[in-house]
Amino acid sequence: MRALVHRIRALVHRALTLGRGTALARELDEELAFHRAMLARDLEHTGFSADDARLTARRRTGNSLAIRERCADAWGFPALEDFVRDARFGIRTLGRSPAFVAIAVVAIGIGIGVNAGFFTLVDALVWQPIPVARPERLVKLTTLRARGDNGIQFSYSDVQAIATHARRIQDLVAYVGEPVGLQLGPGASARAASAGVISGSYFPALGGSAQLGMVLTDDDARRGAPPAIVLSDGFWASAFGRSRSVVGTDVILNGVHVAIAGVARADFIGINPLVPDFWIALPAAAALGITPGKLEDPANRFIWLHARLRLGTSMAEAQSELSAIVADPRRAADALTDPARIIGVGLMPNESFLPPTAQAAVAIAPALLLGALVLVIACSNLAILLLARSLARRREMAIRLAIGASRARVVRQLLTESLLVAITGSALGLLMADVAVRVLVRVFFAAIPETLGTVALRIAPSWRVVAYAIALAVVSVFAFGLVPALRTTAVQLQAELKGEDTLFGMRVRRSLFRDMLVAAQVAGCVALLSAAATAVLGIRQFGATDTGLAPARVVTASLGLTADGNVPPATAAARARFAERVRGTPGVEASARAQQPPFTGWPILHVAGAPGEVRGVFYNVVAPGYFDVVGQRIISGRDFTVSDTIGSARVAIVSESAARLLWPGAPPVGQTLRIVSRGDSADAFVRVIGVASAAHNAMIWDNDSNGYVYLPATVRDFTQTAMPVLARGDAGAPDVSRALRDVATQVAPNLPFEVTPLLAERRLQIFPFRYGAAITAAVGALGLAMALVGLYGIVGLAVRQRRRDIAVHVALGAGTRDVLRMVLAREMRLVAIGLAAGVLLALGEARLVANLVLPLPALDVAEFGALAAMLLVVAGIAAFIPARTALRIAPMQVLRQE
């Protein structure tokens, strides 16, 4: 208690004296003057002459400056006042060398900017709460399937069961995004729009409100309720020009009039960062055929679920309750033998778009590593600059130390200067990062097809990003400013003031740090380049692999946007007519319908080679002629025929790889393929009639090592699924897309029509990786350029420092060659050490990157050799030029000058 009172009193005293330094010093001076006068008077009494007494008194009281310094420790908050003084002094000093400041600020700015940029993205995905009301207890529901994988899709009956029985969660919200054909009025052309299909709880539970009209509620989500939609702000602006009279008017969805209930507020985004054009309730969407299949079918899973944990409920408790509800065998959604049946429900925190899990950390680690490497290089450049500057300032420091400043005090002063540079640099970095991230994200999301919705990822520099940047600045100052500061102040006063160089003794330690910087620059180069090259090469290889198809002139034409199982008969008939007409269109070489165009997300079928292990293979349902259109060969057996499809023949074609796995060593044609049933019905058995040549049909990142199975399209497939037309244009034909569009307009002017090159889908899949590679390459190039400049600077600096050394050698009779060899050998050795360290770093990186989705190749020997050669050349030139300059000067001149 007493100690506390003391401490408070001392604090108050300091606060009162804060900023009164000069007044206090004046009082102290007066006090000391009085002291001196009294002493002199007393000395006079003991027999000194007046002059002697004054002199002795002055001598006895000593250095009043030093006394004042020591007294000042008791005044104000010395650390704070020192800092302010240091900062002021630092600004003045730095103002005298604008070139140094500019280079240092830009270097640090780039280093911190790259990191802050990555961190802004991480922050937006991992830490920024998703923009809904009360995101803290929000969880995402996942399914655990019998075969051990996870899904996120639930059936409507699951949703109803959870809504009715679950007690440990609340605010259950359902969402699924679907594309749909939309007409703004009768007779208007149909366009593709994105629909957010939701439960009635969606808007109330997530805090969404209307800026116009009303939002959807449970009333709209009842069966048989009149269908109504709520427009998103963006769609309201683009399609209706923000007309306030839209509420109550109709749009036409799949040919049905639907009333506009309202417009959501501009800031409402919801569970998914892709904002749809409009929201519609689940039963209404199902009635309009927007959602796939039958809503009542308990095995028809397509709905995403989110909920809030009730207060006081743990994740595990809620999980076990939900698992019991969804996997209840009495509900009998799936056969017990179905490997895809749901056996449990998992919960994932969903406070942000990407929960801060170990997986997320692994996914972002390489980017952060790259950023860290750039920062290290930037900082080591700063250290080099500081070191160069410290040479010029050694005399200044020696003087300060000589007049009584403590070394700690001077080091603090130097660090304050570095900190000023770093803080300015991080401000610049934050600015650059903000601009760069905004631009990059906009460019990236511009590539997303609009039927998926509009991206609403908030990219705003939060306090976390700023704190991260400042922390990086402070850490980099201490990591890279401290050693130069210690070096600068570790001077031998006498020698320094006399202008002598401290050649021996000190020099050894100084150059150790310098040597480490050279090696670090080289190691950084290697690690950076290997990370960047690995990513870039990986992606180049990624897009360039032969697919085994000939997709160049093939386009996919889709007429009407329907959900499987809910195709209006008129649309089905129009599609059949369209396919028929395309076949005879001039400029079309070949065409066929198929459920899945190549390079899209093919579904998985569980099959076995009649006795044998069950495997999941990608499958497609195709019409005769499909293989010819996409450029795949039938290497044995035959293609499907019309009688296979119309007659629903129990036949299949398998890919080479599937055939090898299912019937190893046996001819596949004529074998029986068991298709493992998903429902209650018995397994189906089909006969293999042909083998298709190897091709990568699935999405670019899909692992298709189990191969593919192709089934003939049945009448049901033709009428109840979209079955787009794949058409290959003539080599000489001008534009097959235009021809197809004309046909579509003639056949069904009211149905939305889309035609895209087959390769567009693949390009879209490659795009994120290409984009990432481009950014990685740019960051890598930036870092590499900085590292090379830094390497050049530090090597040159070191050689210039050794001028005296060189002069001594020359004076003692060493030839030009000997000196150059000596100087170069030393630098080359450091580069070699750096290369070795860099290789170790690069190997560590490769292990990190290996955890990612993509198998990436490591930097190969030739490329590494090229890099090593480049580094050696740069270091060689940097060492050679100043060494030669030193050799040109007469040795005596150098020795005298120093």
Partner: protein, 111 residues
Amino acid sequence: MATTGELVPGTLEMLILKTVSLGPLHGYGIAQHIHRLSDEVLTVEEGSLYPALQRILAKGWVAAEWKQTPTKRRARYYRLTAAGRKQLGLESSAFERTMLAITRVLRATET
């Protein structure tokens, strides 16, 4: 000067407190008092005295006031506060205990 004794570290503040407990005194007076009372064994250097005064001023053990000296000069007088008196009591009893202990140890080695 060569004959003056070194102060045991940490005791200067206690000696100052003791000195001003006898009545308000300026810095020079404090130094003289300590010098005289110690039979000219202890000399307080100005370089130690004034920083020490500033320290105990900050701790609130003494209060300072500018006053006229009897010889009509302006001087800063230091006066013991209640907190300073308490501190002096604590320090001197702790010091006496330590001295006693040291003395005992020294005697033991003599016999």
